[in-house]
């Protein structure tokens, strides 16, 4: 699909100057390919269209007869004893929780006929307030994963649960001598009680905790400065000036759902909208949502923090002279002094409304300096709480490996986690494991750890278990199963009971008993389980004073230890930043195809991980995206494809952990590169001094950002607060002339949607929610390379400015439900029509697949089923489907429907209640999930509705309004709040 020379304006900086990718900015092939990559319409076995048609002529002629044949006979199978609370066809919602890194997220699970189909946030839970993130939305598919293992095995032979219990009891022996347990960090109050019983019954058993992200540094920092080990709990709701030194509180750090909502609230504040400065090496959602993003290598962040502290303590009473002295002789920070001064001034002016945050994985030095900064500011936006986690401070794996080598481990029981994959590269865990006498692995899947163990016992998924946990703020959250264990999974409580040779007890009785022993009555317990959380159980927020003398001592130690040394890295070496991306976390979600196919929020990469490098570094090395480089950390070398990432620091390269699984029966098989090999116990997050060698090989990276190229038009508007609104908004006051007649008087309801670009962080929760709600298939890496991904809702990310330090804006793009939809009048079979309430409808059974509608769509939001993506579905994977939405077959066009199944259900409820249709509120899946509540939906004719008020905002505009399509979906231009004195 070659075309003529590029049109004027591409890459020349006219229009808004926005550009989608480096190739587009440099005027290269991105636009030339048009919508679909070459060969996008070809079947993978290279059958040309002409050949196909000539062979299919006869079958096409006969195809119409399929409508004449009645479907085969069906059966109806009722219950034998129908549960009284269950009406088949009516969804039931249960409050439960999902646990990650030991913390619970409060969720509601929508179940149909006894199987969970969708997860929503629990509106009663303070950590979610009804929203949910990417990983919560995708958890449904983990439950129905065919790669999960369901048989108990000993030495590859299937055995019964009774034999397994006997083996576990035997392993524990009389007093647990030689028994070592490796668990994941947990905040469960019941587990704490249970482990106390284990310690009493098996006093010589040892429990180790394995985590890929210990928070020990944070505890050390607060212990040092506040004399007690505490974790920081910032609250972004009323922040006026915020500085983030690394980290990604809005998308991937802990409690991100609550933080995103709080941050969005602070942006919308009319009197004092917040201003955020983010200093980071690698782009993140938080960084691109900031008013000022400053590129600083991670190793310089303590120096920047110290420089800021030096400026701020001048006005703080009671700070000893030692601290002034210790901070007096810092080397210059790697950002312009004027900028540092402006940031310090801004923070000082905001005082109690200022906040300094750091990433959860920041080293102790940075954590301590942040504590000191917040104390110096007198910030009221941060509090501290003791940790509610058992384990999780430091990774217990090195200690376990040491004991294994010493021969002290006779019986090893590993529950959850996947230590043989997630252990740092310098720890030869596989060899160490062989030293244990007997190894039990309790896990969801037959993974690397299971391959090294004698026994495998399936673990119950969170959605199949009774339990409890605490959310980040300490709120006790219950977990109730919504389905019987599909793979005969056992919970940790059952394993511990087996070790203690106790009689088997059902999980719900166990849990009930634990809470009865803590004095909770029956009625209170039932109410708490139904609600999902115990309101008011958050641990108290503390604000202890900082010991400034200790702070001075610490700064002196850090100074002498070289932490603030601004020495550049040796030439030819870089810092390697390892991170857990927002998709597969530490690797545990690698088998989840939804998450593998979800485009990364920043890189838009699917089915892979890649080494992110700065454009300047790419030029220096002479590499292009997709080219392989060898990353040498001194101990290991890894071959990784490169991805040129605008906004990346030239001194740092980044690689996501969790890919490159060696043993996987699911989606994770042979996807990406294993970055744990480069990780060491001493340098878990930042590996200094790696060398890069360019290789000749190339790997096609399945990026979605260069597909669906939109020409340079003002589609995602962003303007600074003190500037006038872009003229594009005013230009839209007059609808363009159209040949199509106007609709005439409209009756209520008329559905519409508004997306606030100022609140959107680009986290992709909406994309995953839409996929879960609407049975959207996964197409795989090869098809993504051909631009055939099926997401109805995509988040486009536009850059603006220089390659090295661009601004970026994320824009969720879905069917705009145009009032004068260009797709409707080109369909030869009337498969897409307009409803009286404003929806652009899609009737799958009428569609014959001409794809003319997609051709005509100015927004390119229509997706075509090139293949029967569901033909390999099994009864297990079909359980994940939403029964209220058609499952589409090959040859059919599909697109966002404004969740028409929810709209119609709302209509029916309204009518049955005797109200006008549209009275009952309708919430779309994307709107319900969005943590920052950027999406608003409702009846635009109801002047009091949120959507009508949002449409009336002066910031509201339609994308590509000059096409005459008159979209129902409007966007609110982002208003940034830059510092007026910033040059």
């Amino acid at each position: 699909m070659q075309s003529g020379p590029p049109p004027a304006g591409v890459g020349s900086g006219t229009g808004t100057g926005a550009w989608r990718s480096l190739a587009e900015r440099n005027g290269l092939a991105a636009w030339q390919r048009g919508e679909f990559a070459p060969g996008a319409d070809m079947a993978p076995d290279a059958l040309t269209r002409r050949a196909f048609l000539s062979r299919a002529a006869a079958s096409l002629a006969l195809a119409g007869l399929s409508g004449c044949i009645a479907k085969p006979a069906q059966q109806i199978v009722p219950y034998v004893r129908q549960p009284p609370e269950l009406v088949p066809g009516v969804a039931q919602f249960y409050a439960s929780s999902l646990v990650r890194d030991g913390y619970a997220s409060g969720i509601l699970v929508e179940t149909h006929e006894g199987r969970p189909t969708k997860i929503e946030g629990n509106p009663d839970h303070p950590a979610s307030l009804g929203s949910s993130g990417v990983l919560e939305q995708a958890a449904i598919l983990d439950l129905y994963d065919p790669a999960r293992d369901g048989s108990i095995r000993s030495a590859a032979q299937p055995v019964s649960w009774r034999e397994a219990r006997q083996a576990l009891a035997q392993a524990a022996g009389g007093d647990g001598a030689g028994l070592h347990l490796l668990l994941e960090p947990s905040s469960s109050p019941s587990l704490a009680l249970h482990l106390a019983e284990v310690r009493e019954r098996l006093p010589r058993a040892v429990v180790h905790w394995h985590t890929t992200a210990g928070h020990g540094a944070e505890l050390d920092a607060t212990q040092r400065l506040m004399n007690q080990p505490l974790l920081a709990h910032p609250d972004l709701t009323h922040v006026q000036v915020g500085v983030a030194l690394g980290g990604d509180p809005l998308a991937t750090d802990r409690d991100s759902v609550r933080q995103a909502r709080a941050w969005a609230h602070s942006r919308r504040d009319a009197l004092h909208p917040s201003r955020w400065y983010v200093l980071e090496a690698s782009p993140s959602c938080t960084g691109f949502s900031a008013d000022h993003r400053i590129i600083v290598d991670d190793r310089f962040l303590p120096l920047v923090a110290a420089a800021l502290l030096a400026k701020l303590i001048a006005s703080v009473p009671g700070v000893p002279a030692e601290l002034h002295q210790a901070l007096a002789h810092l080397p210059p920070a790697p950002i312009p002094a004027a900028h540092l001064e402006l940031i310090a001034d801004d923070l000082r002016r905001a005082g109690p409304h200022a906040l300094v945050t750091v990433g959860a994985h920041a080293p102790m030095a940075l954590q301590a300096l942040a504590v000191a900064l917040n104390a110096a500011l007198g910030s009221e936006q941060i509090g501290y709480r003791p940790s509610v986690l058992l384990g999780g401070e430091r990774d217990g794996l090195p200690e376990l490996v040491r004991l294994l080598h010493a021969g002290a481990v006779k019986q090893l029981v590993v529950v959850g986690a996947n230590p043989l994959f997630t252990s740092p590269g310098d720890l030869d865990t596989a060899v160490a494991f062989r030293a244990a006498g007997q190894r039990f692995r309790v896990g969801l899947r037959a993974d690397e750890t299971a391959a090294a163990c004698d026994w495998f016992i399936p673990l119950a998924h969170d959605l199949e278990s009774w339990g409890d946990a605490r959310s980040v703020d300490g709120t006790i959250t219950w977990q109730q199963p919504t389905i019987d264990p599909l793979f005969a999974g056992r919970t940790l409580a059952e394993i511990l009971d087996a070790l203690m040779a106790r009689d088997e007890r059902p999980g719900h009785l166990l849990l009930r008993e634990r809470w009865r022993s803590r004095g909770m009555g029956d009625a209170e317990y039932r109410a708490a389980i139904q609600r999902g959380c115990l309101v008011g159980s958050a641990t108290p927020l503390l604000r202890p004073a900082v010991d400034w003398r200790e702070a001075a001592q610490l700064v002196r130690e850090l100074s002498e230890g070289g932490t603030f040394a601004a020495a550049p890295a040796a030439t030819g070496s870089w810092d390697l930043s390892l991170y857990r991306d927002g998709k597969i976390h530490d690797g545990r979600y690698g088998d989840n195809p939804w998450l593998q196919e979800l485009p990364d929020a920043i890189t838009k990469l699917t089915w892979d991980n890649a080494l992110l490098i700065a454009p300047a570094l790419a030029d220096t090395l002479g590499v292009r995206t997709g080219q392989l480089v060898a990353v040498d950390s001194g101990a290991t070398t890894l071959r990784v494809p490169v991805l040129v990432q605008p906004g990346q620091s030239p001194g740092t390269v980044s690689l996501a952990l969790g890919y490159g699984r060696r043993v996987s029966r699911g989606a994770a098989h042979e996807v990406g590169v294993d970055a744990y090999a480069l990780r060491t116990s001493a340098q878990p997050w930042l590996v200094r001094g790696v060398r890069l060698t360019v290789l000749a090989e190339h790997r096609d990276l399945a990026l979605t950002q260069e597909h669906w190229a939109m020409e340079e038009r003002p589609v995602a508007l962003s303007v600074a607060r003190d500037q006038p609104l872009p003229p594009a908004i005013a230009d839209q006051a007059h609808a363009p002339l159209s040949l199509r007649p106007d609709q005439g008087p409209l009756s209520s309801p008329q559905w519409g949607m508004v997306v606030d670009l100022g609140s959107c962080t680009g986290c992709n929760a909406c994309v995953t929610a839409c996929q879960a709600e609407n049975n959207i298939p996964v197409v795989g890496r090869e098809e993504v390379l051909r631009s055939r991904e099926m997401h109805w809702l995509r988040v486009d990310r536009y850059y603006r400015g220089s390659c090295a330090a661009p601004e970026a804006i994320s824009q969720p793009m879905m069917c705009q439900h145009c009032e004068k939809a260009p797709c409707e009048y080109v369909c030869p079979t009337y498969a897409t029509t307009h409803s009286p309430d404003g929806l652009n409808e899609m009737t799958y059974n009428r569609c014959v697949g001409t794809r003319f509608c997609s051709n005509n769509c100015p927004y390119k939001v229509r997706r075509f089923n090139w293949f029967n993506y569901h033909q390999s579905s099994t009864p297990l994977t079909r359980m994940a489907m939403n029964p209220d939405v058609t499952v589409r077959a090959r040859g059919v066009m599909e697109k966002c429907t404004y969740c028409v199944q929810r709209i119609r259900a709302g209509d029916i409820s309204s009518r049955i209640a005797g109200q006008a249709p549209g009275t009952q509120p309708v919430v779309t899946a994307c709107q319900q999930a969005c943590p920052s509540q950027a999406i608003v939906f409702g009846n635009i004719l109801d002047a009091s509705s949120a959507v009508a008020r949002a449409r009336a905002s002066p910031r509201a505009y339609a994308v590509l309004a000059d096409s005459g399509a008159q979209p129902r979906t409007r966007y609110l231009a982002r208003i940034t709040n830059p510092n007026p004195a910033w040059a």
């Binding site: 479907k71 059966q75 004893r81 129908q82 088949p88 029509t833 409803s835 009286p836 009737t843 119609r904």
Partner: protein, 217 residues
């Protein structure tokens, strides 16, 4: 020069053209009529069931309301068929040893559901909602016929889209008051139905969807 074809071939040509023209019109018409005929829709074909349940006895003789067994009809999109427990609620005491009910007792004893054969079905791409109809004035017999007079249940109506749209466009002809939904003796005259239907449409604000997404999602 002599004509190639004798004159009688003209008649053949004309006859063939007329025949083809008729076929082009008639064959699709026949096909369309066939699809709507009971041959394809299986209307009025009583369906064999694993247990010979006779609605005449339970409804006419015993006076059991439709909703007692088909409880989903007014609460959910799917009306469903009764769980074995519903049958056993009576038949644990009434005719507890009847051989005709052996299948029910077996299901109860072994906790295995009874597998009924579906009579009235719609394609998978149609989303029909029972309680939207039952709660808004559409009687059971409007779509399912006089089930209380059926020994074995049969599909009473063609269940084609055209037939559904007929009511959706003219609901007044098919509505009845809320307390007569399950009444088998509801047979108003055409005139009273016209008056009553118009009144019901007006007071209950009946506006059935006729747009595609009303039923196709």
């Amino acid at each position: 020069m002599a004509p190639l074809f004798p004159r009688w071939t003209d008649s053949i040509l004309r006859a063939v053209l007329i025949l083809v023209g008729l076929l082009v019109v008639l064959l699709p018409c026949l096909a369309m009529a066939l699809v709507r005929s009971p041959y394809i829709t299986h209307q009025h074909e009583p369906i064999e069931q694993p247990i010979a349940f006779d609605h005449r006895h339970h409804v006419l003789d015993d006076g059991i309301d439709c909703r007692f067994c088909h409880g989903g009809a007014y609460r959910s999109a799917s009306a469903g068929v009764p769980a074995t427990a519903v049958c056993m609620g009576c038949h644990a005491q009434i005719w507890p040893d009847s051989p005709a009910l052996a299948g029910v007792r077996e299901s109860w004893r072994t906790n295995t559901p009874i597998v009924w054969n579906r009579v009235t079905t719609l394609p998978d791409f149609v989303y029909f909602d029972h309680h939207a109809h039952v709660n808004r004035g559409v009687g059971c017999s409007e779509c399912h016929g006089q089930v209380e007079h059926m020994a074995r249940v049969e599909k009473a109506m063609p269940m084609t889209m055209d037939w559904c749209l007929g009511c959706h466009r003219q609901p007044a002809q098919h509505l009845r008051p809320a307390d007569r939904i399950t009444d088998g003796s509801w047979h108003p005259s055409a005139e009273s139905q016209r008056v009553l239907g118009a009144m019901l449409v007006a007071t209950m604000h009946i506006s059935p969807p006729t747009t595609c997404s009303g039923c196709h999602r």
